[in-house]
Symmetry: C3
Subunit: 305 residues, 3 copies
C-alpha cells in the first residue's frame, strides 16, 4: 500500500504490510522522529457527531507536529442544517485543507466522503462500522509489549456482537494469524460470519461464556462496554454486566502479566482499582493515539514515506 | 480606500478601486505571494449563528498565512447567554485579537460591532443584510475568467427578492457598469428600488420570468436557492422551484461556455449532474474564499499594502 | 511557591510572595518579555460549561506566546455524555497536552482534576468556588495603578454573599493586609466567617448598606452583578438593583480618581455612560487577562522561572 494521497477508511482495505508500516512509523514518531512533518499543513476535523477523545487526539497530534487544525463538532453549526449533502460539504471543505478527518453517525459516510474529496480522508468512526485509527493504536500498543503480533493471544471481553472496535481489531489480528479468545454472554457473542472469516484467515479461536472458564493463557484482555440499550430485560442486563466487570480479583485470576486494554471511555466495566495495577495499560493505550495519528497524517500527506 | 485598520462591513462602503485592489491582491496571494503575512496575528471568528463554510474558510485562510484563530460558533457557549450586550462582548474580544470576523443574525450588528471594536471588524454576514467577502470572492472568480468586469454579462437566477448575495453582487457589478439579467418568478423578482439604482449607476438591465425566454448571451449564470419558507402555497412552490432548477439540459440551452456559479450551500436548485460539466465553477468559487479572505485579512491588518 | 509543574486551583493555596511573582511576571510579559515562551506547547481548554471570555482569553494568551490550543466548550460533544467520569476524561486529556485549563459547574472539580492529571491544571472556575486567574488579573490591574497593594483601599459593591470573585479577591487583598469596604444590601452582605477571617489576617474592614453612606476614601470600586435569581421577591430585587447601579453621578460622588472595576460580563449594574469616564478601567482589566494568563502558563510549564 502506498500511503501518500490515500484515504484511510476501513481496516479491511489494509494488508499486513501496511499495518506494520504504520506501527513502525508510529514507533519512530514516538521516539522523536519526523518532527515538524505537518508544518504548513491544515487538518479539518469534520465531526458530525460527538467524540472529544478522538477529536482531541487528532488535534493534538497535528499541532505537536507543527500543523494547524480547523474543525467543527456536531451538526448544529454546519450547513448540513440547511439541507446540504455530505458530498457538497466535503467537496467544499476539500478546498480548505490538506486532509479531512471525518466522524459521522451513518455507516459508509466516510467512504462516500473519500470519493467526493480531493484530499485524503481519514475515517474517525462511521456509525457502527469502522474506526481504523483505533485499531492502529490498539495494535501499536500491543506491539510495544509483545514484539511479534502473530504470537500474541488476545481475549476479547464484553459486547462482541456490536462492538466495532472488537470486529476491526479481531480482523487486523487475523491478518497476523494471531490466536484469539472471545468471552461474552451468548446474546452478545461474536457474529458467526466474522468468527468463520477469522478462522479461514488462519487464526485459532476459542469462545467462552465466562472469564473463569478460560483454560488458555492470555497476553491481553481487551475489555469493552456492555450497553444497557442492548437488553430488553433490565434484570438480564444487571446479571450480565456484573459478571463481566473486571476487578483486581479478576485480573489476579488471569495469566500473570496479562495486559488489560480498553478503547475508552469506560463506564464501570473496569473497576477503578484496577487502574493502579501494572496490568492496566488503557490510558497509555489512549495516549498512543498521538504518535499513531501523527504517523498516519504524515503518511497520507506524503511528508513521511 | 485605505485598508489598514479599516472594517469591512458593507459592499456599499466600497468603491470600484477598492474592489480592484482586493481582486489584484487575491490574485497575488493565489499565485503564492504574501506568504506568512499573518504571522503572529490572532483572528477571532465570532459567529453568533451557524456557518461552517464561512467560518472554515476564514480559519483556513488565516492559518495557511501563518496566523492563529480563536473563535466560537453559536451563542450557547458565550456570555451573551448571561445578558451581555454585543458592544461589551466586542469591546472585550478586541483586547484578545488583531481582527474580528463577525457573523450575526441581526441586520446592522456588524456595523455596531465595528463602532465598538478597537480592531478592524469583518462582516461575515449580518442577517439578510450584507456579506461582503462573498461578493469579493464572486467578483474574483469572475475576474479570473473574464478579465474586464465591465464587459461581463451576469444572469441572476432564483430568489432575487430576498437574496443578500444577489443584491450585493449586483450592486458591485453596477460599480463596473456591467450589464445584468434577472430571471425570477414575479413574486421573487428584484426589488424595484435596487433595479432603479443599478440602472442609474449605468448598468443595462433586463428581466425575465424564465431561463428559456432569455434572448441575450450570458457569460455567467449565478444561481441561488428558492426557499420553501417564502411561499404560502406549497403547490406554487413546487411549480416554481421545478422551473428554476438547473440541469445539464438547461446549461446546454444557454450560451456556449457560460459559467455556472452559486454561493453554496446548494440544496437541489442545481442538479448534481451539472457538477461534472466544464461550465460548473461553484466549488472553485467556494475555494477562492481562501485567497480572497487572505487578501482582505492582510489588507486590513496592514501586513499587505 | 515553586510554579513549575504546579496546578493553580485556589487562591487559598497561594502566599503573598507567589502573588507578587505572578504580578511581576505579568508585568514583564506585558512589556514584551518572554516572547515565544509557549512554543511547541499544547494547552487544553476543557470547558464543561460556557465562558467565552475566559476561554478566549486563555486561547489568545497561548497563541500570542507561540503555543497551540485544543479544546471543547459544553459537554454536548464530549465523552461525558457517554457516562465517563471526570477523572477518566482528565487522565486521557493529560496525554494530549502540556497543561489543562478547566472550567466546571461543580465545586471541587478542578481540585479533583488536578489530582487525576499528569500535567498542571489551571482552574478557570469551578461553580461558585474559585476562579484564581480572575483574582490574579484583578490584582495585576490594581498594581498597575497603585504600586503598593497593602495601601490600596477597595470598595466591593453588589452581591457580596455569593460573588466568587469578591471572596477570592478579598482574601488575596487580605494577604497584603489591605483595608477593605463592603457595600451591599443586608441580604447580600459578606459572609460573617469570611469577614472575620479577613480581619484576623490583618485587614481593616468596614461595611455599608449604600454607596452614599461611605465616609472613607476609595481607590477602587469593585462592582459585581446582583442576580435576579437571588431574590424571592421581585419588588425587593427592583429596589435593590436600582440602588446599587453605578452611574456617572455615583462615580462623581466618590473619591476623585477612584477606579471602577468589574469582572464582566456586565448586564446593567454599570451605566454604559460610565464607560467613557477615565475612572472606568473594566475593559482594560479584562484585557489584562492576556499577560496574566501568559505569565501563569509560562510559570506552570516552567518556560518562565
Amino acid at each position: 500500500m502506498k500511503f501518500k494521497g490515500q484515504s484511510i477508511i476501513s481496516i479491511r482495505d489494509m494488508e499486513k504490510e501496511a499495518l506494520l508500516k504504520i506501527i513502525e512509523t508510529a514507533d519512530a514518531v514516538k521516539r522523536g522522529g519526523h518532527k515538524g512533518c505537518l508544518e504548513g499543513k491544515v487538518v479539518s476535523t469534520a465531526f458530525f457527531e460527538p467524540s472529544t477523545r478522538t477529536r482531541f487526539s487528532f488535534a493534538s497530534a497535528t499541532q505537536y507536529m507543527g500543523g494547524k487544525v480547523i474543525g467543527f463538532a456536531g451538526t448544529a453549526s454546519t450547513s448540513v442544517t440547511k439541507g446540504e449533502s455530505l458530498v457538497d460539504t466535503i467537496k467544499t471543505i476539500s478546498g480548505y485543507c490538506d486532509v479531512i478527518v471525518i466522524r459521522h453517525p451513518v455507516e459508509g459516510a466516510a467512504r462516500l466522503a473519500s470519493e467526493a474529496a480531493t484530499v485524503p480522508v481519514i475515517n474517525a468512526g462511521d456509525g457502527a462500522n469502522q474506526h481504523p485509527t483505533q485499531t492502529f493504536l490498539d495494535l501499536f500498543t500491543m506491539s510495544e509489549r509483545f514484539r511479534d503480533l502473530s504470537k500474541i493471544r488476545v481475549g476479547f471481553l464484553g459486547d462482541l456482537k456490536y462492538g466495532r472496535t472488537v470486529h476491526s481489531l479481531a480482523y487486523a489480528l487475523a491478518l497476523f494469524r494471531a490466536p484469539m479468545v472471545f468471552i461474552a454472554p451468548e446474546i452478545l457473542s461474536m457474529p458467526g460470519y466474522l468468527l468463520e472469516e477469522i478462522r479461514e484467515m488462519g487464526s485459532e479461536t476459542r469462545q467462552f461464556e465466562a472469564l473463569c472458564d478460560i483454560d488458555v493463557s492470555l497476553d491481553v484482555l481487551y475489555v469493552t462496554r456492555i450497553q444497557k440499550e442492548r437488553f430488553g430485560d433490565m434484570q438480564e442486563y444487571e446479571r450480565v454486566a456484573g459478571t463481566y466487570r473486571v476487578t483486581p480479583e479478576t485480573v489476579r485470576a488471569l495469566t500473570e502479566g496479562v495486559r488489560i486494554m480498553h478503547p475508552l471511555p469506560r463506564v464501570d466495566e473496569i473497576d477503578v482499582e484496577v487502574d493502579a495495577m501494572e496490568n492496566a495499560i488503557y490510558f497509555e493505550q489512549a495516549h498512543n493515539g498521538i504518535p499513531v495519528r501523527q504517523a498516519i497524517l504524515g503518511l497520507v500527506m506524503g511528508t513521511i514515506s
